[in-house]
Symmetry: D3
Subunit: 125 residues, 6 copies
């Protein structure tokens, strides 16, 4: 179990975004690339999301935008949940996805909206 | 000159984002696709950017994120200037670009930062 | 229910391409982004597919080409069916997909051909 | 100088598309990858563009669509010229580029239209 | 059944990479695009993978890198198995996937690692 | 000037790959995002390229493959030089680029080969 400062800061930030994520990530990668589970905690969350200068809600919305444009489905679902967890409204998320039709095309926006529909439905249960 | 409500609303919104843009766009496309200059005003700006639910600063930051991820250089520069015009700070823009290293890779983030450096330098003159 | 001219023209064009599509789209997006269902009818179909200058068969083949290159699987299946609906032959569709191996790589072409195989099989039943 | 049947068929097809292309390609790659100049003649032109089932004009339009979606600028300019050479009208090309705004986003369509403006202007001289 | 030299060389090379692949590919494409099954044997395997200058292990690792960056999931799984078949170690494959986090982003690397986990588990049975 | 272990290890690794790179990177980003110059040294070079399990030559070839597939031109040129610096032969680099025609399409491979031609010519002077 890594114990450095970046890792600890990343763990705390990741827990703000999704309380189960670090355990799930560690479990999912333990048999194949445990170091990469550590890097995910350290660089994106310990280094980047922990920086001042942009609030966590905006950090999640720009992530949702980028993942929609790139078509990275599993990570998009994760960050749609994370956006809700950190206080983004459904409306802000939907507006972000609709706007991607302009920059990445209507298919990217549609696939993003269908992913959000699933995430919102699961959250409502 | 189109005169419908969406076009007029788009013109006003585009002028908030960049006062010269609609004239430059019309000139650039007049000889090849004047209808497309109209569509750019109507759909992205008249329909999407004019929607409530997300403020203009956030709309520009998610656009910067998507264009950095997609590597669309000329439009990224336009929206880096637009982000400044609508009140995003340099720090917010730089944070957005740095965060793209996580989702779209370090090369995408670096190219975005070099574009921002040019835009910021031109604005400082 | 929107009732403007662009929407009505888009509905008619979308019905040429796929008679069930507008209802399915409205249903799929009603709980999350009903406005986006309207935009899909208005811009792609009311504005773009309704333009003169390119017949509907060619419009579907260039769409199949772009979606294969971009790897947008659900929309590719929709437009493979649409291409058949507007009179493209299976041979024209297959030629379009094979040609994508040159521009977007062999994996993109293979995934396009596997999608077409499913669509053609469903249509034959 | 390769002399097989595919290469000869590819040379003839490439000459239909652009009479100078095979010499330019051979020159450009002679010092670094002469075999790849041969492959470009053999596979895309000797195998694919020489197939029946899709006329050369449609083959060029689907290529323009894919290259616009992928953002491959030098090859897009080549195929914009090729599309004109094989008889596509400027209107058909512009319609193809405008339609890409739906599938690949407005920036991709704009960059395609600016490339076409340059190609059309050079041809008019 | 094609019988030319490139096809035969491609068949032998493809069998080195995956003994079942050519039959599976022929079966999968026989009803829709049998010529494309032949092209896959001839160009990627008969022409490219058969070239000297790079050993088969390195050819598989650069393929794994590109497919991870492009997000082409079915072909990535095929080449993860192929990489093992030609003698790449699990460690070399995992290192290749982890490194893609730098160039294509953490989501691309994660999706690659999850694909490798499935492929390694299936191989261990 | 950061002085942690990861940064120092990254500096040493980056100097193996390109002796001028860390100074150039620091200079280029000093006015806009000095922290990102540090991250580039720390994560890609201090964490990833410093890992055992894959030699530096293979690390550069998979990077060249990924950057060619992604179309990231400035970073591709940097890593084409880096590949030569760590001992890859021109032939190994050219083979990597040619192979990308299969996975990312002929335009990506051509643009990669033209970049390599410039890099090789500059090195020969």
């Amino acid at each position: 179990m890594p114990n450095n400062e970046r890792y600890q800061r990343g763990l705390r930030k990741l827990a703000e975004v999704d309380p189960q994520a670090s355990q799930q990530l560690t479990d999912a990668l333990s048999s194949i690339a445990p170091d990469f589970a550590r890097y995910v905690v350290e660089y994106p969350f310990g280094d980047i999301f922990s920086r001042p200068g942009l609030d966590l809600k905006t950090r999640e919305l720009i992530t949702v935008a980028a993942l929609t444009a790139l078509g990275a489905a599993p990570q998009l679902k994760f960050h749609l949940r994370a956006a809700l967890n950190v206080g983004c409204t459904r409306e802000e998320i939907v507006e972000t996805l609709i706007q991607m039709s302009v920059y990445a095309g209507f298919p990217a926006a549609l696939n993003g909206l269908y992913a959000a529909k699933e995430v919102f439905a699961a959250q409502s249960e």
